[in-house]
Amino acid sequence: MTAMVVLDTVFPAAMIGWLLSQVLGVVIAKWLTPSGIAPRIRQQRILMVAFSAVLLPLVMIAAILAANLFPSSEWMASHCGTHSHDHIHACLNSAEQGALPAWQGAVALLALVMVMVSLFRTLLTERRLQQRLQALITLSNGQGRFRRLQDTRAVALAVGGSEPAVLLSSGLLNSLNPHQRRIVLAHESAHLRHGDPLRNRLVVLLLALFVPPLAKRLRTAWENALEEAADDAVTQRFDRFDVAETLLRVLSLQQLHLKGAQSVNSGDTQTRIQRLISPHQADPTTRRWFEWTCLLALPAMLVAVLVQHHAIETLLSWLGA
C-alpha cells in the first residue's frame, strides 16, 4: 500500500470515524449519562464511547477498503471512470490521483498530531502515577490488600495492577470510628472487586483520543459513576445515612489540610451525599437500548459506507469544494 493510498483513503476514513466518535461522545456526555440512570449503565455507556474512538475509525477504514474487493465491477469502474480527478476517490485504484485537497490533508494531519500528543502525554502521566502508587505500596505498612500509610491527611485509595491494594492513611484511620472505617474499607474493596483501578486506567487512556473539553466531561462522568457504583455496593451492607455521614466526615477532615493548597470545588462529593440521602432516583427500568443500538450500528455502518461509497465521496468532494 503506497503512502498516497494511506493519505488519500485510509487516513480520511479514519478521521471520519474519529469525528463520529466525538459526536457520539457529545451525545453521551450531554444526554445519556444523567444521574437518574444507574451508575453501572452509565459506566457501560462511557466505556462504549471510549472504545468508539478506536473502533469507529477501524470500521470506516474497513468499509472504505472493502470497496476494493470489487475493483473490476462495473459499479466501481463506472464511478472512477466518470468522475474528474478533482473528485475524491476513496478507493485504492484512484488514490494515486491525489484526491484529497491539501488543506484538508493539513487539517487532518494536525488533528492526528494533536490526538497523538494527547495520548502520549496521558501515557506518560499514567506511567509516573503508577510508579508513585507502586512506591506507596512498597512504603506502606501491612501486607495483603489493606495497607496503612503513615500520613496525617485523610486518604483512602484503591490501587490496581499486579498488586491490587487499598491504601489508607493513619490520619484517616485515627479520625474515624470503627463503623466509619468499615464503610471506607467496604467502598474501596468494592472498587477492587469491580476491577475499577484497571478499568479506570483503560478509560483514561482511551479518553485521551477525544478533544480535551469533551474528554474532561466524559472523565468526570466516568469517575462519578464509578464512585456512585461503589457507594451503592456499600449501601447493600450499611445504612445509607451512615455512608453519607462517613463521606462528609472524610470531606471535613480534608478541609483541614487544604488551607493554602490548590483545590477544586467539591461538587462531586456533595452530589454523592445528596444521592445517598435522597430516596433512590435511579430508574430501574432503564433498558439497554443505547448499548444494543450501538452494537447493531457498527455492522450497519460498515454496510452503509460500503454501499454508499460513491455518495460519501460526492459528499466529501462537495464539503471540500
Partner: protein
C-alpha cells in the same frame, strides 16, 4: 559531610523497587557502604555490587541520600525521612495528578476538594433531617 536539601513536594522523583528497598534498609541502618548494602539486599536478589553501587548513586543524585567517604568507600545515609517521603508522594498523587485530571485515581474523596464550613454544616444538618424523616437513628 555535604548536606542536600530534600526534594520539594512537587518534584518527588520516580523510585524503582530496588531503590525503595535500599532506602528502607538505610532508614533502619544509616551509614552503610555499597558492600554492606549488597550483602543485605543484593545477594538474595542475585545482583552485583556494581548494580547496588549504581542504585546508591542514583539515590544520591536524586538528593535522597547523603554520603561520606571513609577510607576508599562511600558510606550512605538517607537524607529524607520515611514519613516525609510518603507525605510528598501522597501530595504528588492526590494533588498534582488529581488536579491534572488525566490520571486514573480512585479515591474515596478527592483530596483537593474544598467546601466552605457553612456548606459542611448544611450537609450535616440535611443528613440528620433525612435520617429522622426516614425513621432512622439520630
Amino acid at each position: 559531610m555535604k548536606k542536600h536539601t530534600p526534594p520539594a513536594s512537587h518534584s518527588v522523583p520516580a523510585l524503582g523497587e530496588l531503590e525503595l528497598t535500599v532506602l528502607n534498609l538505610l532508614w533502619e541502618n544509616p551509614g552503610l557502604s555499597p558492600k554492606d548494602v549488597h550483602a543485605r539486599v543484593g545477594t538474595e536478589r542475585g545482583i552485583s555490587v556494581n548494580t547496588v553501587q549504581s542504585t546508591l548513586d542514583r539515590l544520591y543524585k536524586k538528593q535522597l541520600l547523603t554520603r561520606e567517604k571513609q577510607g576508599y568507600a562511600y558510606h550512605y545515609t538517607a537524607i529524607v525521612e520515611r514519613d516525609s517521603l510518603i507525605a510528598n508522594m501522597i501530595s504528588d498523587v492526590m494533588g498534582r495528578f488529581q488536579l491534572d485530571g488525566a490520571a486514573s485515581i480512585a479515591a474515596f474523596v478527592q483530596a483537593t476538594e474544598s467546601l466552605a464550613d457553612e456548606d459542611l454544616a448544611r450537609l450535616e444538618e440535611e443528613i440528620r433531617a433525612r435520617r429522622a424523616q426516614s425513621g432512622g437513628k439520630q
